[in-house]
């Protein structure tokens, strides 16, 4: 059965630590965003928590050429993530190591799923996504990523970690984010 939803509205660009919500296993947060380049996701990460993060973008629409760029799920600006990437595009297949300030949940436009394993001070993420926007991705490039971060400091306290999605393609993005705590 479905439980009654608890509706809460935030201005995520100015989210404060006290606004962060701690999901229980099975609980879901859905965010709808329109015309944004930064989306705060106020989920307080729980040590030994496992989360599913699904991002489905729907604007810019199919056929719109946008710059390929690392769309990042950031925990804090200080965090260094190592992303191992494998892909197949119209232009061929490849693999790369990407060091970035966050988990690369997407590249340009499309849909993605990340399974986040948080075990302080480490975070592991498994991701698959489809990329659309650059010319070489016209059929929808399949991308698989494994990410790792080791938090060398606790910048604002373990209980204050939330997500921030940052879009770097230079255009406003619209879509939804769904976060489900698995365990």
């Amino acid at each position: 059965m479905l439980c009654d939803p608890v509706l809460t509205s935030f201005d995520f660009l100015r989210v404060e630590p006290e606004d962060l919500k701690q999901l229980l296993p099975g609980e879901v947060l859905t965010i709808t965003f329109s015309g944004e380049r930064v989306v705060g996701v106020p989920v307080r990460l729980v040590d030994e928590g496992v989360y599913e993060v699904i991002v489905a973008m729907n604007q810019p629409s199919y056929g719109t050429s946008i710059t390929g760029a690392d769309q990042l799920l950031r925990i804090s600006s200080e965090t260094s993530f190592t992303n191992r990437v494998v892909w197949r595009s119209d232009a061929g297949s490849g693999a790369a190591v990407l060091n970035a300030g966050g988990h690369r949940f997407a590249y340009a436009n499309g849909a993605s799923r990340s399974i986040v394993f948080f075990n302080y001070p480490s975070m592991f993420v498994l991701n698959e996504h489809i990329c659309h926007g650059p010319a070489a991705d016209s059929r929808g490039t399949v991308v698989t990523i494994g990410s790792f971060a080791n938090f060398t400091s606790e910048p604002s306290g373990l209980g204050e970690f939330g997500f921030v999605l940052t879009f770097h393609s230079g255009v406003d993005m619209s879509g939804t984010v769904t976060v489900r705590r698995i365990a």
Binding site: L7, V28, I31, F33, N109, I130, T176, T178
Partner: protein, 190 residues
Amino acid sequence: MAIVAEFRRVLPEYVDLTSATSDVMLEVGQIGVIRFTNTREIALHVAVPPDGAVYEIVVHTKSPGITQNVGAAGPSGLKPNNLTYGSTAFGHTQYYRNSSSLGSGVSDHAYQRVASALSTSVFLVSTSKTLKCMVSEGCSSWGNATDSPTFIRCAGIWKDSTTEWTSLGTWFFDASCGTPSGVILVRRVR
């Protein structure tokens, strides 16, 4: 610019769609169950809301068994709105490892290709009118000498921004697959 958030606790609720004769609108968190027996075409009977939705779909084939040789590893997949479209309407990218090699490829289809031959697949579908796409968590395919099994990861896009996706559609197996049986689970994520 706008952002709207909604918290909810979702406990799995299963909706048996096996005998459905018309499309049913799943609520967020609900899981549609479609059992199929000795058939290659399975109408999912899931209605898609006008503003789009996200679904996780699991296709599990339980027969014929993994040792069944069905010959060609032809494509299996999803026909949105229970229709096929032009032969290049959908783009598809994939990489795979079968019993002999690691490879990858791209192709176009009249439907959303997801798998090959007999298979068990897990994939995500986003049905927004402006950008309709699919990404597969993985597919284990079998049914011939080189697929025993084959791991496939793929993605695909409906090359269209104007057509409404109103019915999630029909899952189909390639004609080489005989008449398989199994179960399909459709979880509405959003």
